[in-house]
């Protein structure tokens, strides 16, 4: 039975905060940074209102915040935090530490350009640069998806024991007000079981974590991490399906929009997907066989699913709001690797669209699609802003 809950007008930040509050984390170490700060503020408000009973830690840096997240998580409680850009970069060392610790922390990251030079704009490079840290990464498109994904992320992370990042873009999502369905606490309770790990830091258990291991053990440890990542596809899919069953809202690991018979596919993550939907509608009306594929789960990268969807298409046009100097758009590169060796693979076009928070309009997307229809693809991503 689908429960509607409340409907509210929320920003992405506040929607994420509602998601976190409904998950009832026990420890929240958090450090302020624009544009994520409203999440922290909303959570402390919840605490004051009695909607949340968590230990707040407000340390001197994101690094210490993440350190406390890891140790609190290893002590057997649900942990939530949020950050952005520089903060995420400062955490980098500990992001590895968190996944190596198999600590199912859920963290929201508001994508923001990083210095130098200073800026506050939507750009996914900060989180994509963490793609090798062993965290799950969900890229979401709007406040509603942010709320829903925070809860799905907890469910998935705590099942496979890996940390998860829920990522959305600065301002376009973080500060944009939208109508959001907020599930009831009962709905969430039925969805998300309490976090009860078998092994944790506890004098009654007496086991210690993280000391020096030999090469073989280290290798084995990494291999187990791989296995956990592999399991994510099913676990995350089930979590999404279950959520859909409870709330009517499901997204898939990748979201297909008018892809059924499309010869051409636009591929993107985050808000560009929303814009691209209008562009698809317009081009479809003009007779172009085109659809949109939104990558929602970037880590682990759903290679098999993508190969299944994209095999036999003519073209994929990848729009990257991120930039890896020396190798271009990150989704572009990832997709090329994912489809390598696939018979009937589409031609892949990579455009750097929206880097640094530049607005990407439907017309811009149309232009880039048309550019690809008339040109040859190149290995290199093309600046298409």
């Amino acid at each position: 039975m689908i429960s509607k809950g409340d409907t509210m007008l929320l920003t992405g930040n506040h929607a994420a905060a509602y998601g976190a509050m409904l998950a009832q984390p026990k420890v929240i170490p958090i450090y302020p940074i624009t544009p994520q700060t409203p999440i922290a503020e909303k959570l402390t408000e919840f605490q004051l209102e009695g909607l949340l009973q968590a230990e707040f830690i407000t340390p001197e840096s994101e690094h210490s915040a993440m350190a406390a997240c890891i140790s609190a998580s290893l002590t057997g409680v649900r942990v939530f935090t949020a950050t952005s850009s520089q903060g995420l970069m400062l955490m980098h060392e500990l992001l590895h530490f968190a996944s190596g610790s198999r600590a199912p922390i859920v963290m929201v990251n508001a994508n923001r350009t990083f210095a130098a030079p200073w800026g506050f704009w939507a750009d996914q490079t900060d989180s994509l640069a963490q793609r090798d840290t062993g965290w799950l990464q969900y890229y979401v498109e709007n406040p509603q998806e942010a709320l829903d994904t925070v809860l799905q992320a907890f469910k998935t992370a705590e099942t496979v024991l890996l940390p998860a990042m829920v990522v959305f873009e600065a301002f376009y999502v973080s500060h944009a007000l939208e109508v959001v369905g907020v599930p009831t606490p009962e709905t969430v309770k039925s969805y998300l079981p309490p976090y009860e790990p078998k092994v944790m830091l506890d004098p009654e258990i007496g086991r210690s974590f993280g000391n020096v291991v030999d090469q073989k053990t280290y290798c084995q440890h990494r291999q187990t991490l791989d296995l956990a990542m592999e399991e994510v596809f099913d676990v995350a899919k089930n979590a999404d399906d279950q959520w859909k069953g409870l709330t009517g809202r499901g997204y898939g690991l990748v979201e297909k929009y008018r892809c059924e018979d499309a010869e051409n596919i636009i591929m993107a993550m985050g808000t560009i997907s929303g814009t691209a939907k209008s562009a698809v509608d317009k081009m479809r009306a003009e007779g172009l066989s085109i659809g949109l594929l939104k990558v929602r789960l970037f880590r682990p990268f759903p290679v098999q699913e993508l190969r299944g969807i994209l095999g036999g298409r003519d073209r994929v046009i990848v729009l990257d709001r991120n930039f890896s100097p020396g190798n271009g758009g990150i989704l572009h590169q990832e997709l090329k690797a994912a489809l390598y060796g696939l018979k009937s693979a589409p031609e892949i076009f990579g455009y750097l669209a929206g880097v640094g928070g530049v607005n990407v309009t439907p017309e811009k997307i149309e232009g880039l699609v048309k550019q690809s229809l008339s040109g040859q693809s190149s290995a290199k991503s093309i600046w298409g802003w």
């Binding site: 099942t159 496979v160 024991l161 000391n211 053990t217 187990t224 296995l227 592999e230 399991e231």
Partner: protein, 557 residues
């Protein structure tokens, strides 16, 4: 939980490190050792001083006395009259002030008398019988150690009572008769037959004893006073020192007049002078041919004599007695110190034509004494004017042992007791009993091996001694030196380094970074065990042992 979520063991610990072996890192291992203290080695009866002082420190006074009594049944006696070489060697002397071992010994001895403690009963009976001729310190000591081993012992004493020099040579103000009697009585409670007023001085009597007993121990002392040839015939005013002390100690002291001269520099000279003073002599002067430095008597005795008004004239040697207008005078030649003689002291040499004279109502000759050879068989030999014995106190006659002043020119009470003990041990060995476990050739613990951090600088609690005031002293024969209180004794004992003696202080246990020292709870056996599996051989326990009771021994693997 997913499958991967259940595969966590690689980064979580599952085992304890005490299953590992770090003993393989080691090239040396700490070893608890028996290393005697310097005081122990210096003691003529080989008294295990650090052990019983530890007992005092811990307040286990009865146990301490028992440990003390193992080697010395007369702590109240030696606690008063021993020349205490132990203190001269005390390592603490190099730090602040030596431990007053003698006072502690006396404390324990007096406490044992006060509380009526007895020696543990002898629970073995062996068939061999030993006769002891001469019931002085050497003989009594021999009797004690033989009896402890279960042998039958009988003592033959020429005088009325046991004690020898202790009774008849040492005045009561130094060694009260009651103390002497009680320690001797306690000894006799062990079951020793005594024949007093029985002098063994004929070949026939010795012959009988040799037949009747499995071994003899002769300790008849050195009772023949030395004399000066020039005074042989002077009658009336000249007394023999030993003879005088005998009379004093028997309550038959003769009157000496107002002015008394004592010739000599040993303990007998001091004892006679101080006795004469107590018996009413107005002016008592000791005349000695060397200086105070060379006097053989104990320094404390000289000091006390001085306090009591005894006069000293050094570098003077008696020549003749003159009588002028009815006044007797002793004429002495002035001396000066020359080269060292065979005794290692500077030889006194006469200064030509330089004389001194002193008025005297009487004179006491305290020039030392010589032995009287026991009349036993023909085989006995004399060496350095004493009866010759071997390193085991055995004479050249089989199964005849001897000790004390009879066999030694080092004439201290405890030296005599040591000889008695040694002879007893040798006899026991001869009879097939216990073998002697001597430690005299072991190296002693040096001051450098003491970890002084554990001993805050703290001058002696019992510095010097506690004495009666002089005005009271010279009126009678009350004991001059007073004992110490329990509090003082424990305070002084606490200062003791207990060199080389494990006091179970647990420092080795506490200072091991590898938890490789185990404390043993049992009564017997070592106090600690080094755990071979864990000890890395760092030696911190050795360094932190306050008293050098552990050493690091190299291991070859």
């Amino acid at each position: 939980m997913s499958k991967a979520a259940n595969m966590l063991s690689t980064a979580w610990t599952t085992l304890r490190s005490d299953a590992l072996n770090t003993g393989t890192w080691r090239s040396a291992i700490p070893t608890y050792r028996y290393c005697p203290s310097p005081c122990h080695q210096a003691c003529p009866v080989n008294n295990d001083i650090p052990a019983w002082i530890d007992g005092i420190e811990k307040g286990e006074l009865h146990g301490a006395w028992l440990k003390l009594a193992v080697n010395n049944p007369f702590p109240s006696i030696t606690g008063r009259v021993c020349h205490h070489p132990c203190e001269s060697y005390c390592n603490r002397g190099q730090y602040d002030e030596k431990i007053s071992i003698r006072m502690l010994e006396r404390y324990l001895g007096d406490l044992s008398l006060e509380r009526g403690w007895s020696f543990p009963a002898v629970d073995v009976a062996k068939k061999e019988r030993v006769a002891i001729i001469g019931g002085g310190p050497a003989g009594l000591s021999a009797a004690y150690h033989l009896r402890l081993e279960g042998y039958t012992v009988e003592i033959y004493e020429a005088r009325q009572k046991l004690g020898g020099l202790l009774r008849y040579g040492i005045p009561a103000y130094r060694l009260p008769k009651e103390v002497l009697d009680r320690e001797i009585d306690r000894l006799l409670e062990l079951g020793i037959e005594v024949h007093t007023d029985v002098a063994i001085n004929t070949p026939g009597e010795y012959d009988r004893l040799q037949k009747e007993y499995d071994a003899l121990f002769i300790s008849t002392g050195a009772q023949r006073s030395r004399k000066l040839a020039q005074f042989e015939d002077s009658s009336g005013i000249i007394q023999d020192g030993l003879d005088y002390l005998y009379k004093v100690n028997s309550g038959q002291a003769p009157g000496l007049g107002q002015k008394v001269l004592v010739i000599g520099g040993g303990n007998t000279a001091i004892d006679t002078a101080r006795s004469a003073k107590r018996l009413g002599a107005d002016q008592v002067m000791i005349i000695y041919r060397r200086t105070e430095e060379e006097m053989p008597s104990q320094k404390s005795e000289i000091l006390e004599a001085g306090e009591e008004g005894i006069l000293f004239t050094f570098l003077a040697s008696p020549v003749r007695i003159e009588k002028e207008n009815g006044v007797q005078k002793l004429v002495c030649q002035k001396m000066q110190l020359g080269e060292n003689d065979s005794s290692g002291r500077p030889r006194p040499e006469p200064i030509k034509d330089a004389y001194l004279s002193f008025e005297a109502d009487s004179m006491i000759m305290a020039l030392g004494s010589d032995i009287v050879m026991p009349k036993i068989g023909n085989g006995l030999e004399i060496q350095d004017s004493v009866l010759k014995v071997d390193g085991k106190q055995e004479t050249s006659i089989k199964n005849v042992f001897a000790g004390g002043d009879l066999t030694s020119n080092i004439r201290f009470v405890s030296t005599a007791m040591g000889a008695g003990k040694k002879a007893a041990q040798q006899m026991a060995q001869l009879f097939g009993g216990n073998t002697v476990q001597g430690s005299s050739d072991l190296e002693t613990v040096s001051f450098e091996e003491i970890n002084t951090f554990y001993f805050p600088r703290n001058p002696a609690v019992v510095s010097g001694s506690f004495q009666l005031v002089v005005s009271d002293r010279i009126k009678n024969f009350e004991e001059v030196q007073l004992g110490i209180s329990e509090e003082q004794a424990i305070g002084e004992a606490t200062r003791c380094f207990n060199c080389g003696f494990c006091t179970v202080c647990d420092n080795c246990y506490y200072f091991c970074p590898d938890m490789a020292i185990a404390r043993n709870s049992g009564e017997d056996g070592p106090n600690y065990t080094v755990l071979d599996q864990y000890c890395k051989g760092c030696g911190l326990c050795v360094r932190e042992c306050p008293r050098g009771a552990i050493v690091l021994k190299e291991e070859s693997k």
